[in-house]
């Protein structure tokens, strides 16, 4: 049996960063392969290289024996690769049926009339994915799940040999997940090769024939879903090795108002549910970690607290509601967020970035704060005059944290500080976290998908799963109680 899709020695470099390092796999007709890995592992880049959205640096992508590596996307599509994007932007003024027709059209400049046959085919596909009832409606009037169905319908319309599906179940309810699984399984029944890209094995385990796990651009395991879940390296990547925890007794006294109290928070992005009934609290001086895979809703939670996204529910800060306050007012009130994207001023020097953080301090205070930060992150002292853009990823992260600390926050929110960092940098960052925790009374709310980093410092842990809080408790109990669901 020859493979429909064969990826051989795929390498993709972005400047100095190697995003994909020698990845090889093949998918036969009627087979579903799950490509999993945490955020930043390079799995999406692999998918983009197959589709031609990114041009591979080296290696082959063979489609039914034809090497298409480096071809433009539209030629690869015509050669027989279809993709189901996670986020689609449908046309506003065309009906669902017209969207499906679009996918059925040949790439021809002389198509001036719509063929009857095309309309009939489109109607058939709409029926197959369950869109018959709404096929004459406009996308704007449909729920999120139907828009995902539309994306599937478009892939079906192209009748590709190989189907790539990006995060098939993100943002869907359990019932919808079942529906979608069935539709994806029907690709297999028809002899297509299917590649599912997702964050963890659990999500796709029921559907896939094989799983390939990636971490930091490299392949770490391949095999059945069970085998990959048992794999030592995979367990270490997702759960961390030996987890050392050092929780302190909860500091808030009984009956005291917690510093931050979030109650029944709901956030919608358009029609997709980003957070559902989330309640967390953070006591004064506490170090609380929110762990969850990418897309679970961590950033949304932090943005809601910082007043950056609209929400329903209550966010109370020292007993007072934050509703209606501007992000600026909330930050001045003591909640400082250090975002996932770091948001450094790239062309300014390290020192200028820090001085900006300390704008509201007197010269003396700023000087003392700066000295203390240079003690915490000695490397920044050495790099003072360098432009922030030229720092390494780890140094940039330290600068981002230091700049946030310059504002002398009461509550520091750290969103994914470890994203894309090498293990050795993680260790340095981890040490700084520990010093911060031991030597100051600062309150920290940390969002992480890297459990190894999130657990050791935490007093308490929340697990955020599919937009909801799935578990809350002591970091020591995490591995046995919540670890399995995390793989």
């Amino acid at each position: 049996m020859t493979a429909l899709l064969e990826v051989d020695g795929l390498i993709k470099r972005f400047g100095g960063l190697v995003a994909v390092r020698d990845i090889s796999f093949s998918i036969g007709p009627g087979e579903i392969l799950g490509l999993i890995g945490p955020n930043g592992s390079g799995k999406s880049t692999v998918m983009k290289c197959i589709m031609g959205i990114e041009r591979p640096t080296a290696g082959a992508v063979k489609l039914d024996g034809v090497n298409v590596a480096g071809w433009p996307t539209h030629r690869i599509a015509r050669q027989g690769v279809g993709i189901v994007f996670q986020h689609a932007r449908p046309l506003h003024r065309q009906t669902i049926l017209e969207h499906i027709q679009l996918a059925l059209l040949p790439d021809n400049l002389l198509m001036l009339r719509t063929n009857r046959q095309v309309i009939r085919d489109a109607e058939e596909i709409a029926a197959r994915v369950g869109l018959s009832r709404v096929m004459h409606r406009l996308p704007g009037t449909l729920p999120f799940a139907d828009l995902r169905r539309l994306e599937l319908a478009k892939a079906i319309a192209r009748n590709p040999k190989v189907v790539l599906v990006d995060e098939p179940f993100a943002g869907l309810t359990a019932a919808e997940v079942a529906d979608f699984s069935e539709l994806i399984a029907s690709f297999r029944a028809e002899g297509h090769a299917v590649l599912l890209v997702d964050h963890n094995v659990k999500g796709v385990a029921a559907l896939v024939d094989r799983v390939l796990a990636m971490y930091l651009g490299e392949q770490v395991a391949e095999g059945t879903a069970e085998a990959v879940m048992r794999n030592e390296t995979v367990r270490r990547v997702y759960l961390g090795g030996k987890i050392e925890t050092a929780a302190r007794p909860e500091r808030e006294g009984k009956g005291h108002t917690p510093l931050l109290d979030v109650r029944s928070l709901n956030v919608l992005y358009g029609k997709a549910v980003a957070l559902e009934d989330v309640s967390i609290h953070v006591g004064e001086g506490e170090f609380v970690s929110v762990v969850g895979l990418n897309g679970a809703g961590k950033t949304t939670l932090f943005n809601a607290i910082s007043g950056l996204v609209p929400f329903s529910g209550a966010v109370n800060w020292r007993g007072e509601s934050l509703a209606g306050r501007t992000p600026g007012a909330i930050a001045r009130g003591g909640i400082v967020q250090c975002p996932e994207t770091r948001e450094l001023f790239g062309d300014m020097s390290v020192r200028e970035n820090l001085d900006l953080g300390g704008q509201h301090l007197t010269v003396d205070e700023a000087g003392r704060q700066l000295d203390w930060l240079f003690g915490l992150f000695p490397i920044l002292k050495a790099r003072q005059g360098q432009a922030a853009r030229t720092l390494s990823g780890g140094e940039q992260q330290m600068l981002a944290i230091a700049r946030a600390l310059m504002m002398r926050p009461k509550l520091l929110i750290l969103d994914e500080p470890t994203l894309g960092l090498a293990p050795v940098i993680l260790e340095q960052l981890s040490k700084a976290m520990e010093r911060l925790r031991q030597t100051t009374d600062i309150t920290v709310l940390l969002g992480e998908q890297n459990v190894t980093f999130a657990l050791p410092h935490a007093d308490r842990v929340y697990v955020l799963e599919h937009s909801r809080i799935g578990w809350e408790g002591d970091p020591g109990r995490f591995a046995e109680e919540a670890g399995a669901g995390y793989l």
Binding site: I53, T73, H74, A77, H92, Q94, L105, L112
Partner: protein
């Protein structure tokens, strides 16, 4: 389908009234409308590129100017017959458009728009620099005109607008228009569906250039003179853009309505002097800020509103 019937229900009666206008109104108004109709073609061509292909062409007057001056020069120096001049003008606009678009469409984001803007300035400078040949700021007078009769000129312009509009509108509603719109909205997704986005955008640019150039050439033969101020100046391009946005993006027909409105409003407000430009600009600003769908946006796409 419903939408198509409704569009016809709105457009046909209006066209009948426009066709009967010369029976009732004077030469002054007809002259104004004639000018408006040529502008309407400029705006409709621009809308095909912006509304459907998603590319903002800040220099529609580059295409208009190339068409107009190619036709004017041939007629002025070699006295080619008008139909031949018109044909060469349109072809010249397409060629100039391709020469501009092939490198420019490689750029993303605002850079395409900037290139088109610079192209207008270049053309304007060339025309002024070679004033000996082109007539420079004063302009180039033409030995031939379309007609000296206001009614005949009016019908030339009306028929030309209806045919161009019909073609552009039909194209926008065809499968090709659908592919173009998908390419404009999300180029990656369109190419993942197997469409050569560059090819479709380039074609749209050529079609836009063809009608812009042809209309520019018609306009100079109506006016009897080609000058930088009427067919090349940045202000001409700005008016074309404002007209299209005012009338309603992605409607084609709206662009025509906007253009006629703009020409009409400019004339009615002429007694205000410099203030008239201000008033027209203010109206445009209000429409763009508060009714981004434009005049026709709501009318043609009522069920399209969310």
């Amino acid at each position: 389908m419903m939408q198509r019937y409704r569009t016809a229900l709105i457009v046909l009666p209006v066209l009948v009234i426009l066709a009967l206008l010369p029976l009732g109104v004077g030469g002054y108004i007809l002259g104004l409308l004639t000018l408006g109709y040529y502008y309407a073609v400029f705006s409709m061509s621009w809308d095909l590129l912006f509304g459907f292909a998603g590319e903002v062409n800040f220099g529609p007057s580059f295409l208009i100017g190339v068409g107009a001056y190619a036709a004017a020069l041939l007629n002025h120096y070699w006295e080619w017959p008008i139909p031949l001049c018109l044909a060469v003008g349109a072809v010249a606009a397409v060629l100039a458009g391709v020469a501009l678009a092939v490198p420019a469409l490689r750029l993303t984001g605002p850079y395409f728009g900037l290139v088109t803007l610079v192209a207008v300035l270049l053309l304007q400078n060339v025309l002024v620099l070679f004033a000996g040949v082109t007539g420079g700021e004063i302009g180039l007078d033409l030995p031939d005109v379309l007609s000296i009769d206001a009614n005949t000129n009016y019908y030339y312009a009306l028929v030309f607008m209806v045919i161009s509009g019909g073609i552009l509108f039909g194209l926008s509603r065809s499968p090709v228009g659908l592919i173009l719109q998908a390419s404009g909205q999300d180029a990656i997704e369109a190419s993942a569906l197997g469409f050569n986005v560059a090819k479709h955008k380039l074609t749209a640019f050529c079609i836009s250039a063809f009608f812009s150039g042809l209309s520019g050439a018609m306009l100079v033969f109506y006016l009897g003179t080609a000058s930088v101020g009427t067919v090349v100046d940045i202000a001409v391009g700005v008016n074309v853009i404002i007209a299209a946005v005012l009338g309603g993006r992605r409607t084609i027909i709206g662009a025509a309505v906007g253009a006629v409105f703009l020409i009409g409003a400019g004339e009615i407000l002429r007694p205000l002097g410099q203030l008239s430009t201000f008033v027209v600009a203010a109206v445009a600003l209000v429409v763009i800020l508060f009714f981004p769908g434009g005049f026709m946006g709501r009318l043609l796409h009522a069920e399209g509103r969310e």
